[in-house]
Subunit: 163 residues, 2 copies
């Protein structure tokens, strides 16, 4: 597919003495800067729910399915306990959820929504539409872009999990 440049990753570099990469050429920077812009769009919207963006992601996962161990939530969100433990403690302090030791296995902490936490979900139902407007995308384009990014993420994660 990319046959105009002979791959030869380890082959001799061209005559030019290895030029540094350029910021605006990089897919990584596009991903990075689009992510920053998106959280800036979310910030004022989430202010109404008094949630940060990662807190909103955690709540979304829990609205779908709660009473799960921290570990399972982390797998969905791609976050480890170093990030999740303090985040969940803040949400617990706000009365949106409870963290309970699992009696079946005392190593586990299960995350359970409170009534307040569950009812916040109804107030969040309009957010995707508002973001769609801000992004200037229709549903199909957003869905297609989401699928491409998920595919990219999955390939990157597969690479990280190699051997």
């Amino acid at each position: 597919m990319d046959e105009q440049t002979p791959p030869l990753p380890t082959a001799a570099p061209p005559a030019t003495p290895s030029a540094p990469p350029k910021l605006d050429d990089q897919l990584c920077f596009a991903l990075y800067s689009a992510g920053l812009a998106l959280t800036k769009v979310y910030r004022p919207i989430l202010e109404a729910l008094d949630l940060t963006y990662p807190q909103y992601l955690a709540m979304m996962a829990l609205w779908e399915r709660d009473d799960i161990p921290v570990n399972a939530l982390g797998a969905q969100l791609r976050l480890d306990s170093g990030t999740l433990t303090p985040l969940l403690k803040r949400l617990e302090a706000r009365g949106l959820l409870q963290r309970r030791r699992d009696p079946e296995d005392e190593r586990r902490v299960r995350v359970v929504l409170t009534e307040a936490g569950r009812s916040l979900g109804a107030r969040a139902s309009d957010i995707p539409l508002a973001i769609g407007q801000a992004a200037g995308m229709n549903r199909e384009d957003a869905r297609a872009e989401r699928d491409r990014l998920v595919a990219l993420r999955d390939r990157l994660e597969a690479f990280l999990d190699r051997e």
Copy 2:
């Protein structure tokens, strides 16, 4: 796959009492999690240069053009002085750049690469190829995805700058 829910983007919401959004449906989460995965792929590669990922982005901008004020660098990277000042101080402490007050306008601090900083650019020249391999993307697909993300970012930024 998700066709049991009729689209109706701007139409009246259904009788169901406003269902909460779902994590895996969201473009925002795909962007977020792809970004996390990408920085995890970068981390071991950048370890060889002893740079964090945002430091690498800053150096990339400076390899292209240095002797610029902090706020010009921030405009390229989409970062403000609260983020850049400490980041640049760490790079200065490592001898990769210097921060100098501009004699023309004493409010400005100009960022100038040292010889060590400039020569690091040569050692970074192979990084994009390595990332391309990890992402399992050929050049054209990566370029097309980059362009779509830049377009998304630009629409989001335009929305943020409205009125």
